[in-house]
């Protein structure tokens, strides 16, 4: 049933309906509303039985989830930005140990400088941690992905990150269909752990592996992650059948079939892109959009198929690999057919709004050959401001000892 409510609230209610046994909570903008709402649901008894742990840090939160999952409990936490970094040591532990759990990341920029607003640098900084990473393009999809995430995590025995744009989605109030308890129960069976710590049947979870076997373990991990691609598609198909909604999956194409230009992006910007695509199509521009929903594992075949025959691709990067270039752009380059011209563009860092106006201008610039493809372009940069500061920086490059001053 459609209700008008805040994205965070909808996610919290959905997570509650997935019946987690343990919720480890530590607040950080912009996910705090999620864990706060969950605390209310536990306090009222609506989510029961559930152990709500107020931990001392994000590292504590993820460690608690690892312990809980190892003990056979369905575990959940949420974080963002520096919080995700604070639990960085535990992330590859969760995946390496093959422990299912779900974590919401309310995408937020990384400091320094401190920035509480939305971009993808937090999640993307942990893209190699071995977690499944799903990006929601809307609040409805965010809600749906959480249900799918628990199913996927437990099917694969891997941890899953559900990414949703901080403030932009988490704090938006809009119409969302929160799945009913009976619907979720039909879709998500009770947690049947593949391994768990049982005093009556003792096992060790997490041994030391030396040079003689570490490579094999990592190879098997990599293989399992790639097999997850099929599981992600199947789970989305099962979800569509059960709930009547097209959510999740690997990629989402929008009017890409005969497109001359396709814009590739992650997250909520895809909503604005759909509007821009429609508007430009009315004006005779042959443009489409490709949303990547499953970022890890990277759906190389689906991306390649979607971009086949498309002469020009624009990648909207909402994070920068400092010292290297783009992140999503590099993934796309790996997958795109060889003759594709790829325009790698940075937009919307640190919460700078990615408006329909700027997206439209971007596509038109590419169509009119006003945008190069050899370099990473900071498209919404204030060039005058940057130039002034750069000039000062370069002129200021005196030795630290203050020689000559």
């Amino acid at each position: 049933m459609l209700r008008q409510l805040e994205g965070s609230r909808a996610v919290a209610e959905t997570v509650a309906r997935c019946r987690p046994h343990v919720v480890a909570a530590y607040p950080i903008s912009p996910q705090t509303h999620i864990v706060e709402a969950l605390s209310e649901l536990v306090a009222s008894g609506e989510l029961a039985p559930c152990e709500y742990l107020m931990v001392e840090s994000e590292f504590g939160a993820l460690s608690a989830c690892i312990g809980a999952s190892a003990a056979g409990a369905r575990a959940y936490t949420a974080t963002a930005s520096q919080g995700l970094l604070f639990m960085a040591e535990a992330l590859p532990n969760a995946s390496g140990l093959g422990l299912p759990m779900v974590m919401t990341v309310a995408n937020r920029a990384l400091g320094a400088p401190i920035n509480i607003w939305n971009d993808h640098s937090d999640a993307l900084s942990q893209r190699d941690a071995g977690w499944l990473m799903l990006f929601a393009s809307s609040n409805q999809e965010a809600v749906d992905l959480h249900v799918q995430a628990f199913a996927l995590a437990e099917r694969l025995s891997l941890p899953v990150m559900v990414c949703m744009d901080g403030f932009v989605l988490t704090h938006a109030v809009e119409e969302i269909d929160v799945p009913a308890q009976d619907q979720v129960d039909s879709f998500l069976p009770p947690f049947a752990p593949r391994q768990w710590l049982d005093p009556d049947e003792p096992v060790t979870i997490g041994s030391m592996v030396g040079p003689e076997a570490y490579t094999e373990v990592k190879y098997l991990m990599a293989h399992r992650q790639l097999r997850a691609l099929d599981a992600v598609s199947e789970t989305a198909a099962d979800f569509a059948e059960a709930f009547g909604r097209d959510s999740g999956g690997l990629v989402r194409r929008y009017r890409t079939d005969d497109a001359e230009v396709v814009v590739v992006a992650l997250g909520s910007v895809l909503g604005s892109l759909a509007d821009v695509v429609d508007e430009l199509r009315e004006e005779g521009v042959s443009v489409g959009a490709l949303g990547v929903t499953c970022y890890r594992p990277w759906p190389v075949d689906e991306v390649r198929r979607a971009l086949r025959g498309v002469p020009r691709v624009i990648v909207v990067n909402r994070a920068v690999a400092v010292g290297s270039g783009s992140i999503l752009g590099q993934d796309v380059r790996l997958s795109a057919p060889r003759w594709t011209t790829i325009h790698d563009v940075v937009l919307g860092l640190g919460g700078r709004p990615v408006t329909r106006d700027v997206l439209k201008r971007l596509v038109l610039d590419v169509v009119a050959r006003r945008l190069g493809s050899e370099v990473l372009t900071f498209y919404d940069l204030d060039r005058d401001l940057a130039a002034t500061e750069l000039a000062r920086e370069l002129a200021d490059a005196s030795p630290p000892s203050g020689e000559g001053r």
Partner: protein
């Protein structure tokens, strides 16, 4: 797009709630609506902006309102920053919380565009009367309902009641009355200026 509203105010004036109420009222009438807050540094008195987008089609984008049909200014001092009026079309409508009238504002240096409609609402005074303190947001929500055909008084009232359900004795009722009073004020203001034209 049917209607795009952008609300500017300061922390503590209920800007975010105002946008939510508009979106809830629209939803109650079977429209699609989204409310999107935009926070600066969160502290009482800091500038806050919120967008509300209402449509008869499902809304896909989540970017802030760049081209507001109606601009709501909950704090007069914010008009010192020209960015507040960014994107307002030539025939845009501005609702300002002030107990001064438009002529007085113009004398004070305001330069409304020739085709713009500026509506003044003494929302602080009205809310002091009905709520006991200057909390202008629900009055301004009522004012917006008085300007656009899209939102009926019943939908605004039900949104307010739902939002303030747990707020205690009579708070919801007082806010409903406040919105209604502001709505009537704006409508009679409009009728008055039509009579003069």
């Amino acid at each position: 797009m049917k209607l795009e509203v952008r609300i500017h105010g300061r922390g503590g004036q209920g800007v975010v709630t105002a946008a939510e109420l508009l979106s809830m009222a629209a939803f109650d009438q079977g429209l699609h609506a989204e409310a999107l807050p935009s926070f600066g540094s969160e502290r009482t008195g800091a500038p806050v902006m919120a967008s509300c987008r209402i449509s008869d089609h499902a809304i896909r984008s989540h970017d802030p309102v760049s081209h507001p049909d109606i601009l709501v200014v909950q704090d007069l001092t914010l008009l010192r920053d020209s960015a507040v009026l960014a994107g307002l079309p030539e025939d845009g409508i501005v609702v300002v919380n002030t107990n001064r009238d438009l002529a007085d504002l113009v004398k004070g240096g305001l330069e409304p565009g020739p085709a713009q409609r500026w509506v003044t609402v003494p929302a602080n005074d009205l809310s002091r009367e009905l709520l006991g303190r200057p909390l202008p947001n629900t009055a301004l929500v009522g004012a917006v309902a008085g300007i656009t055909d899209l939102l009926g008084p019943e939908a605004v009232a039900s949104a307010i009641r739902r939002r303030f359900a747990g707020a205690g004795q009579g708070i919801a009722d007082a806010n409903v009355r406040l919105a209604e009073e502001a709505r009537h004020l704006v409508m009679s203001q409009a009728r008055g200026s039509e009579a003069h034209a």
